[in-house]
């Protein structure tokens, strides 16, 4: 298992946002995390990716314990996340946005650009070439030198995907990638997510509300409600689960209690 989560718990005040959650995600799989609003999905993502510290529980990624590590450390391990509302660096160009996330640039150490300009420049050329390739792939080519702040919501999601990909992740966490994206771009984004897994072997773990998307592309679905995992299985099995139907549609009142 590439990612295994066990006993993960996080409370905010008196609310147990994530309550003793355990699941695994297999390498190379496309897994969806679903659940009604407030189920704790995004909190679970934040805990796994190191943006919030868990109260209890363990997270292992590629065999290494990562629970409680900082977000940047988790990202460098190859577990890269994206955000529900895309976070782009608005007053920097599209190209700079992507190049920023490249790993192993010695020029990020303060004195290096002055002391070893050649080494830095060589790596910079590699990074620029890869970033340009990714931008072309995501069909943002003509916008390469535009400020990211001029992009539409959907284009920002594509840009964020590019930024995640240049880090060469083993696993990518997507928080509602389709939300607020125009249908045409959404289809494009979906295509990219599919090829990502097929061609690069990246494990995809995503939160999504669009049921047709979830059921059509994922091979495994984990369902959360009120901070707990209530179902975990194939899309068909999850759809048939009574607990899941209850969580989404509410419990049918029994005739005996009805007035």
């Amino acid at each position: 298992m590439l990612l295994s989560v066990s006993g993960l718990t996080k409370s905010f005040g008196g609310v147990r946002a994530v309550d003793d959650v355990s699941f695994d995600v297999a390498e190379g799989s496309l897994t969806a995390l679903i659940g009604p609003n407030g189920a704790g999905k995004t909190t679970a993502f934040n805990l796994i990716s190191g943006f919030i510290r868990p109260d209890h529980g363990s997270v292992r990624f590629a065999g290494k314990p990562i629970a409680g590590r900082r977000g940047d450390v988790v990202a460098r391990h190859g577990l890269v996340r994206m955000f529900q509302t895309p976070r782009v660096l608005t007053r920097m160009t599209v190209l700079e946005n992507v190049m920023l996330a490249a790993p192993d640039q010695p020029g990020e150490r303060l004195a290096m650009p002055l002391l070893m300009p050649r080494r830095v420049r060589r790596r910079e050329a590699e990074i620029r070439a890869r970033a340009t390739g990714l931008i072309e792939l995501l069909r943002l080519g003509p916008l390469s030198n535009a400020f990211a702040g001029t992009l539409s919501g959907g284009q920002r999601k594509l840009l964020e995907l590019g930024r995640a990909l240049i880090a060469e992740p083993r696993m990518i966490l997507l928080d509602e990638p389709m939300a607020g994206v125009a249908p045409v771009l959404a289809g494009e984004l979906l295509g990219h997510i599919r090829t990502l897994r097929a061609e690069r072997g990246v494990t995809v773990f995503l939160i999504e509300h669009g049921m047709d998307v979830v059921m059509s592309i994922s091979e495994r679905v984990i369902v959360m409600d009120e901070g707990r995992v209530i179902a975990d299985g194939t899309p068909a099995a999850v759809q048939a689960s009574e607990r899941v139907i209850e969580a989404y549609l509410g419990r049918a009142q029994s005739p005996a209690v009805a007035p």
Binding site: G71, R87, T90, L100, A101, Q105, E108, L110
Partner: protein, 326 residues
């Protein structure tokens, strides 16, 4: 004072260059890394005091004392940054405002060490006049003598100082500009835009912010030392919070997002600040000179507001970039 007196304008040029270095420190912190430092003056004060105390009380050679001054500024940056940089940017703003005032009040209230409210001149206690810039003046005189032999006429101390200060400013801006365009600068600019996104990109944001804060502190400390050496005496009042806002004003006038606009900003600011001294014609002459002194600060403030309203990018800045929302 006479508008046409070259000695006066040479002095203004020296101060403008030093303020440029001060503003460059703030540029690294604020324009580049997005760190709201409202206590930049503290780095200048700490460096100047450390340098002067070492020279006056311990007879340290000026070069060593100057380096120690820069180290003191770095230590202050670490002390303010270690707790505050882990939190949101607002907390750094609060920490730096407080830090600046703490430094000033300490200087005011440790008379045995700092000379107290009298300032550097009282560092050796009452009855002794303490001077710390004798070594610097000797150094300037040596350059003057050498230049005199080379050129014929002997330049004034301020002429030599102006050349030194402006040469340093240009070299330092070139260095900062180079860093800004390097991968290091890219990460710092990313932090300015959205820290969370940069964490997700796998960068240790706290470490990068600390580097920017320290680099800015070194430049601020250097400006503080040069200013102290140029004027010859200083007191805690010279390090009031206003000085930090002069640095912001220089960045705003020149162009918030252009390092090469700093010299222009520094010159414009100094012309305004010194030039408004000569606003003694009608109808301003209706005010007495004491009121006119306040009028000057008022005019500087009004200009700042006007710039923010009509030309937020400054004289040379990039308007499109500045007006994009974060």
């Amino acid at each position: 004072m006479d508008l046409g007196n070259p000695a006066f304008w040479l002095f203004v040029a020296v101060i403008a260059g030093i303020y440029g270095i001060m503003a460059l420190g703030l540029y690294v912190q604020f324009s580049l890394a997005g760190l709201p430092n409202f206590g930049h003056v503290a780095f200048m004060a700490v460096a100047a005091y450390a340098m002067a105390i070492l020279v006056v009380r311990y007879d340290a050679p000026l070069v060593l004392a100057g380096l120690a001054g820069l180290v003191a500024a770095v230590i202050l940056a670490l002390v303010m940054g270690l707790p505050a940089l882990r939190l949101r940017a607002d907390y750094l703003a609060i920490a730096t405002v407080a830090g600046g005032e703490i430094v000033r009040y300490l200087a005011m209230n440790l008379p045995d060490l700092t000379g107290g409210p009298i300032g550097s001149i009282g560092m050796l206690g009452p009855g002794n006049i303490a001077m710390f810039n004798g070594g610097w003046q000797a150094f300037l005189d040596a350059i003057r003598a050498a230049l005199g032999r080379l050129l014929g006429p002997v330049p004034t101390r301020d002429a030599v100082m102006a050349a030194l200060v402006w040469a340093s400013l240009v070299v330092l801006i070139a260095l900062v500009h180079r860093l800004e365009r390097s991968p290091w600068g890219r990460v710092e600019r990313g932090i300015r835009e959205d820290e969370t996104a940069v964490i997700a990109a796998g960068k240790n944001v706290v470490a990068f912010k600390m580097q920017a804060l320290v680099l800015g502190a070194i430049l601020g400390g250097l400006a503080g030392i040069l200013l102290a050496l140029e004027i010859g005496v200083f007191s805690p009042d010279d390090y009031s919070p206003t000085l930090t806002f002069y640095a912001y004003l220089i960045l705003i006038l020149g162009g918030m997002n252009r390092a090469w606009a700093i010299p222009l900003g520094a010159v414009l600011f100094s012309l305004l600040y010194s030039g408004t001294r000569f606003l003694n014609f009608f109808p301003l002459s209706l005010f007495d000179s004491g009121s006119r002194a306040f009028l000057r600060l008022f005019l500087v403030g009004a200009l700042l507001v006007a710039f923010m309203a009509f030309r937020p990018q400054g004289v040379l800045g990039n308007r499109q970039q500045l007006l994009l929302e974060k």
